[in-house]
């Protein structure tokens, strides 16, 4: 193992500074005591955090995003797990095609998905509905759920199940007591990645969401498109802190690199 020289460490420091800079900038601005964009040079103030409470549309958008993420991740995982088990462990006609089809949203730009759903929902009369938004998000996050479920189903030793079968377990018992516990870490990782992807998604949702079903990223985007003020910075700061806490939990549970290898 080679040691790192001073040049490598300086580069690393600059890189980390580059990564952190915009986030720290957002956080700093959100503590300003001025009524306009500025760094809190005269003292810290929480006035822009209280201001969020006076803007219920951000809060309701936050809850839309939370529910959207929870529901779409759950539906995607519920469909991905049986599909992953079939694809990873059985040979059947059409297997590769089905796998490619279910992973295909990864190759489609979100903008294309957005315009496709916009037109489709307006034709079938579901324009701006929460159900339509949810279905679109299920399509979007399904590949992530499927990929992580596939990864854990592929490594699954078949002999453990066969052993359970010879010990007298029924097919359902084998699934519940042997298969499911073994693939659970991958499935849970897929669910989390799906939730985060859904929660953060902007490009597709900007086409599909109506004013009543605006997600938080969409609400924030429309706000920024109008004006950039300390309010949007404080909303962003709340989001950064929440994400950071979630990240710590995930890193403890799984190791972040494992989750991201699924995302890449």
């Amino acid at each position: 193992m080679q040691r790192l020289g001073p040049i490598a460490l300086i580069f690393h420091a600059l890189f980390v500074a580059f990564i952190m800079a915009p986030l720290l900038m957002v956080i700093a601005v959100s503590f300003t005591d001025k009524g306009y964009l500025s760094l809190p040079t005269d003292g810290l103030s929480l006035r822009w955090f209280y201001a969020i409470l006076d803007n219920p549309d951000f809060i309701s958008a936050f809850w839309v995003s939370v529910w959207l993420g929870l529901i779409s991740a759950s539906i995607a995982v519920a469909m991905a797990v049986p599909a992953a088990l079939a694809i990873a462990r059985r040979k059947f006609p059409g297997r590769d095609a089905i796998s490619a089809f279910l992973l295909s949203p990864l190759m489609i730009p979100h903008l294309v998905l957005g315009v496709a759903f916009l037109q489709f929902y307006s034709k079938v009369g579901m324009g701006g509905s929460f159900a339509g938004l949810t279905a679109a998000h299920v399509v979007l996050v399904m590949p992530y759920a499927l990929r992580l479920a596939l990864a854990s189903a592929t490594g699954l030793p078949q002999d453990a199940e066969q052993a359970a079968m010879t010990l007298g377990a029924s097919k359902f018992t084998v699934f519940r007591r042997i298969t499911l516990p073994l693939i659970l870490p991958g499935v849970a990782g897929g669910w989390i990645l799906s939730f985060i992807t859904s929660f953060d998604e902007l490009t597709m949702s900007v086409f599909v969401a109506s004013p009543a079903t605006q997600t938080l990223p969409v609400r924030m985007y429309h706000h920024i498109a109008q004006t950039i003020d300390p309010l949007i910075a404080s909303v962003s700061t709340v989001l950064i802190v929440l994400t950071f806490l979630l990240m710590l939990v995930l890193d403890r549970l799984y190791g972040l690199d494992k989750i991201f290898v699924g995302k890449g």
């Binding site: 279905a135 902007l202 900007v206 920024i224 910075a233 979630l246």
Partner: protein, 286 residues
């Protein structure tokens, strides 16, 4: 041969396949069909089939410029991500714990934070009364406010920031697969540390650099939030142009045409690239 085993497998994939057929297949086909209709400002979408939209987009210098700008941006962002992301992945892989875990969290963590938030940070930097102006004026470079808002450079910087973690994770993954003893072996065979890096480590990290490049390139081509906020109306890219056609001009068929072309370009690039990479590395890496 529709044995019961096959039927069981199909049944297990059926919910996903049916859902996708209805909610992905149908919308995509309808978008493609829409792109084959002309649009009239008074009458709306006309019933006749035509390739006029494609002729419009492919023949119009306005769209040429937008497509060219988008792909140029993607190429530039990809190159910068390789140049800074790959070395960073290498540094990360060489750090000792706990620093390794901490900085991995710092570098990859932003991927979990909404692109809108990350882009906002750059907008705060770039704005006319932002930090950039303060620094430039403080150092005496300029008396005028310095703004990178609505510029190509600003978009490039922000997109590199948004996408470079994908490069880091991709290179990191392939560095993890390297047998550290292969570097020791080269070293003991007389190679200097720099030669080890160039001849042993870099070639083995190549699959990661290539797959990171394709991810970054594809995501830049289809990026919307960052170009929309930093580039705005003045620096349109394909995604923001299509957005305007849909939601401002209301010319859905033209928007659909741009979307279809974007999709085709994206798929062609990814598939060709993967084929090339596969052929190049099939014999070498698992």
């Amino acid at each position: 041969m529709a044995s019961s085993a096959n039927r069981a497998a199909w049944a297990m994939t059926a919910p996903g396949v049916i859902f996708f057929a209805a909610l992905l297949g149908a919308p995509m086909i309808m978008t493609f069909l829409l792109s084959l209709h002309a649009y009239d400002f008074n009458a709306g979408v006309l019933p006749d089939w035509t390739l006029a939209n494609y002729a419009d987009v492919l023949g119009d210098s306005y769209f040429h410029k937008i497509f060219l700008r988008t792909f140029g941006l993607a190429a530039l962002v990809t190159v910068i991500c390789v140049l800074i992301g790959a070395p960073e992945a290498y540094v990360l892989s060489r750090l000792q714990n706990p620093w390794k875990s901490i900085f991995l969290l710092v570098v990859l963590g932003p991927l979990l934070i909404s692109v809108v938030v990350r882009t906002l940070g750059w907008a705060l930097f770039f704005g006319g009364n932002g930090i950039l102006t303060m620094i430039a004026q403080g150092l005496g470079f300029s008396d005028e406010p310095v703004s990178l808002m609505f510029t190509f450079a600003g978009m490039t910087i922000a997109l590199v920031h948004v996408l470079v973690p994908f490069m880091v994770i991709s290179v990191w993954a392939s560095l993890q697969k390297i047998d550290p003893q292969s570097e020791d072996a080269a070293w003991t065979l007389g190679a200097s540390k720099l030669t080890v890096l160039r001849r042993i480590t870099l070639p083995q990290a190549m699959p990661g650099i290539l797959s990171g490049s394709i991810i970054v390139f594809a995501l830049t081509v289809s990026a919307f939030a960052t170009p929309a906020i930093i580039g705005g109306r003045r620096m349109k890219v394909v995604a923001t142009a299509a957005y305007d056609e849909y939601l401002s001009t209301l010319n859905w068929p033209l928007g659909a045409t741009i979307a279809v072309l974007l999709l085709v370009a994206n798929v062609v690039i990814i598939v060709t690239y993967n084929k090339l990479v596969e052929r190049r590395f099939a014999k070498v890496f698992e």
